[in-house]
Amino acid sequence: MSIYGPYEDTLNAILIDVKQRIEELNNRQVVANQPKLYEHLIGRVKTPTSMVEKCHRKNYPVTTEAALRQCRDAIGLRIVCNFVSDISRCLKLVRQADWCTVVKEKDYITNAKPNGYRSYHLILDVVEPYQDVDGHLPGHFFVEIQLRTIAMDSWASLEHEIKYKHHVKDPERISKELKRCADQLASCDVQMQTIRQLVQEGESE
C-alpha cells in the first residue's frame, strides 16, 4: 500500500470534485457575461513517490498522517489566468465559496521569490463526504491551489526544467538570466494589464 494508505482513491475523487467546483465558478462568470476566469485549470494528486521524498526532505515521518496533515499539497490544482487582475477575481470567488475555507495564503506575486518565481498559493480546507485520516465523516482534506498568469506559468516551466538538469554549465549566469527573464515577464504582465485598463476606461467615458 502507498503512503496514502486507503485514501488514494479518495484523494482522486476529491481532486475531481474541487476541479468541478472551480469550473463552476468560471461558468457562472461566463453566463453573467464576464470574461472567463482563467485560461486553463489543471490538477494532480502528488505521486506517492514524490510524497515519500517530500516527507524525507522535511524530516516528517513517512506515514499517511504526515502525507495528509503535515503536507498539505497531496491534492493540487493550478489555475492559469490571462491577466493579473483575473487572479484577483479568482481569489475573491474562492474566498467567498461556501465549500471551502482558506487556511493559508502566500502571495509570491507581490513578494516574488529571490529567483524570480511568481505565483499565488492557497491552502484550502474542504469538507467532503469521505472519512478522513482523523476518522471524521464527512472529512476534512487539504487542497493546494496555485494561481498564476500564463507568463508566470511559462517561466515556472523553464525554471522547473532547468532545476532538474544535473549538469548546467555556468549556473550563476543561468540563474541571473532567469531572474532577468522573470522581471521582463512581470513587466509584460503589468503592461497588458495597463493597456486593458486604459481601453476599459476609454469605453466607459
Partner: protein, 221 residues
C-alpha cells in the same frame, strides 16, 4: 580617458601630452588633420583636442569629416585669440568646446576634469529615490520586488527622479524621453506614466507619480 591631441607645434604638443599623461590620461599625438581622421577610424577616443591651423588638413576639415562619418566624440578646438570666426565655425561644425591660444595648462586640465564629471558622475547607471532603486543600465526597477523597464520608462523615471517634487509638463517629459523630431506625442507620455504607475504598484513601492492625463506630473515619495 583616452585623448587624441592634434597639434603641429612640436614643443606645445610635447608639453600638453606630458601634462595630460601626468593627470592619468592616455594620449595619442598627431601633427595634422589627415592623421586625426585616420587614427579616429582605428581607435576609440573619449576626447579629441584639435588645433585649427595644421598642414595637410586643418582641424576644422578633420572635424567636419569626422562628424560626417557619424563620429560623436567630444571635441575641443584650439583657436587663435583674434579669430572669432574660428570659434564660431568650429562650434557650428560640431565642436563641443574651444580654447583660445595661448591658454593655460591649468585651464585645459580643469576642462577635462569637468568633462569627466559630466560623463561619469552625472550619468550614473544607478539611482536611489525613496524606496526605489533604478538601474538604468540593466533597465531594472527595484523596491520590495523587481521589474524590467523599457527604454522610455527608464529615461522618464530617471528624469522624474532627478526632478522629484517638481511639476513637469507632458511636453517637458516628451522632449527628454523622445527628443525632437520623434513622432511621439503626449499620449505616449501618458501611457508610459500609466505603465510606470502600475509597475511601482507591482513592486510594492510607496513612491507615486501625481498628475492627471495631460500633465503636469510630479514624482513624490
Amino acid at each position: 580617458m583616452k585623448i587624441l591631441l592634434a597639434e603641429d607645434e612640436v614643443q606645445l604638443a610635447r608639453v600638453l601630452k606630458m601634462a595630460m599623461a601626468t593627470s592619468g590620461y592616455e594620449v595619442d599625438t598627431v601633427d595634422n588633420g589627415k592623421k586625426v581622421v585616420d587614427l579616429a577610424s582605428q581607435n576609440a577616443y573619449d576626447v579629441m583636442i584639435l588645433d585649427i591651423m595644421m598642414p595637410v588638413k586643418s582641424g576644422l576639415e578633420a572635424l567636419k569629416e569626422l562628424r560626417a562619418h557619424g563620429d560623436q566624440t567630444y571635441v575641443i578646438m584650439l583657436t587663435a585669440m583674434a579669430e572669432e570666426d574660428d570659434k564660431v565655425n568650429g562650434l557650428d561644425a560640431g565642436a563641443d568646446d574651444y580654447l583660445t591660444k595661448p591658454f593655460s595648462l591649468k585651464e585645459l586640465l580643469a576642462r577635462l576634469r569637468s568633462l569627466e564629471r559630466r560623463t561619469k558622475d552625472y550619468q550614473k547607471d544607478e539611482m536611489d529615490f525613496n524606496d526605489l532603486h533604478l538601474n538604468s543600465g540593466e533597465q531594472v526597477l527595484e523596491s520590495h520586488n523587481s521589474i524590467s523597464l523599457s527604454r522610455e520608462e527608464t529615461q522618464m523615471l530617471q528624469y522624474l527622479i532627478l526632478n522629484a517634487g517638481k511639476e513637469l509638463s507632458a511636453d517637458d517629459l516628451r522632449q527628454h524621453v523622445w527628443g525632437d523630431g520623434d513622432e511621439a506625442d503626449n499620449g505616449d507620455v501618458w501611457i508610459n506614466i500609466c505603465y510606470l504607475r502600475h509597475k511601482l504598484e507591482s513592486i510594492q513601492s510607496q513612491t507615486h507619480i501625481d498628475g492627471e492625463k495631460g500633465g503636469p506630473y510630479t514624482l513624490a515619495g
